[in-house]
Amino acid sequence: MSSVAVSTTVNGDAVEVLCDTDETLLDVLRDRLDMTGTKEGCGTGDCGACSVMLDGRLVCSCLVLGVEAEGREVETIEGMAEGEKLHPLQQKFLEHAALQCGVCTPGFLVAAKALLEVNDDPSESEVRYWLAGNLCRCTGYDKIVRAVLDTAKDMRSA
């Protein structure tokens, strides 16, 4: 009855999806498109587990309606690695053991990538403030912050 056909782009691929008007982009990604890399934590924009890029801007997909994606570009964690080749951030998260249960990890990676795109040399404090909207209940954040700083350093010298 209030289903709408939405044409959007996800990780560079044109996608057509039928969704209800009150469904969130998060639900559309996970339940309609089977892209379950984006996680649901709180569902109210507090935890950042559902972070995605929408037209180049970092957002919580739980705070976006699926229908809002019409004509726009969505980037998710699934688009981060190139085939088998991990993004430098993903590699550093592994090396630094910057994840434990892993539920927050896709959100952290998407958010950290967005940071490095606008600031290739962030201070520790800038990293912590940028990622303040991504909650992790396992790591205590330190390893995540170190992994991001280490990635930035490597990427600058690359």
Binding site: T21, T24, T44, V59, L63, L65
Partner: protein, 295 residues
């Protein structure tokens, strides 16, 4: 739930006016989607204003800035001219939620959500910001402090929506600042807050001021008496006298504290909020003073 994406402000107003049941405006959605999630009955109509070009831009106008109602706070932070003219307003908008939330949240939405603790509102009230309201027939401009009438309530009539917020041209030697207290260091809602905007003469004497307090009453409080206490001074005079003599009547900080009408809740007690809002108002005034070029 019907979802509409009008391309003009008038069309948006007409949709709202014609709605049979409850209708909601969708700008950044950082309040609306949370309300939907928390079990609010979905409104019959949601009007997404992000397809209205004029609402998606920050424009210079008569030396001031017009911020479209759909402009996310992140974009305000990236706008060099706006941040230079109104650093207090931009820093207040930059305190709302996380990076992710700022990618969506708008100051017009912050205003119309009408939370007494909205971060951008005291800063906008201090700035003398004017909201442009569009209705099905005409537009009208009203000061932002006239929008919220109480928690979650606004003076907007059926069929009306905020189209933009106008920050006027600033005289030379002006500055503004916003400070809030939160129990954490990020990602929290103000327990008390203060926005101050002021203008100095060539000698550094304050000749104009506006002081607005947040989270200490059902709506943001514009404290004219506090502004009067600043005008005609170099600020340190006022502050210094008070510290030494504790003269409650002439004390700017005490005037602000006395204007507060807070409630007790999980974020702070009445007593705490009353005290802290005075401290914040004082510190914000000093920052605004420095930004205006005062020493």
């Amino acid at each position: 739930m019907r979802y509409e994406t009008p391309e003009t402000a008038k069309a948006a107003a007409k949709l709202l006016l014609g709605a049979k049941g409850p209708a909601k405006i969708l700008a950044g959605g950082t309040d609306l989607l949370v309300q939907l999630r928390s079990g609010m009955k979905p409104p019959g109509l949601v009007v997404d204003i992000k397809h209205i070009p004029a609402m998606c831009a920050i424009k210079k106008e008569r030396g001031g800035f017009r911020i479209g109602a759909a402009v996310p706070s992140a974009e305000m932070g990236e706008h060099a001219g706006l941040g230079k003219a109104w650093p207090g307003v931009v820093e207040a908008a930059g305190l709302i939620g996380s990076t992710q939330v700022q990618g969506r949240a708008t100051v017009a939405g912050n205003l119309c959500n009408a939370s007494p603790a909205a971060d951008s509102v005291p800063a906008m009230v201090a700035a003398g910001a004017v909201a442009r309201i569009v209705g099905p027939r005409k537009r009208r401009d009203i000061p932002v402090e006239k929008i919220a009438t109480g928690p979650g309530k606004t003076s907007l009539k059926k069929g009306e929506l905020v189209e933009s917020i106008f920050l006027p041209k600033r005289p030379p030697r002006s500055g503004d600042a916003y400070l809030r207290f939160i129990p954490r260091t990020e990602m929290d809602i103000a327990a008390a807050s203060a926005g101050v905007s002021l203008t100095l003469d060539r000698k550094g004497v304050c000749i104009d001021a506006r002081v607005a307090l947040g989270a200490v009453g059902p709506r943001v409080i514009l404290v004219k008496r506090a502004a009067k206490a600043l005008i005609g001074t170099r600020l340190e005079d006022v502050m210094g006298v008070l510290a030494e003599f504790g003269d409650a009547l002439s004390d700017y900080q005490n005037i602000c504290a006395a204007a507060a009408r807070p409630i007790d809740d999980k974020r702070g007690t009445k007593e705490f909020r009353t005290h802290v809002v005075g401290v914040l108002a004082r510190r914000a005034a000093l920052i605004a003073y420095q930004r205006a070029g005062g020493k």
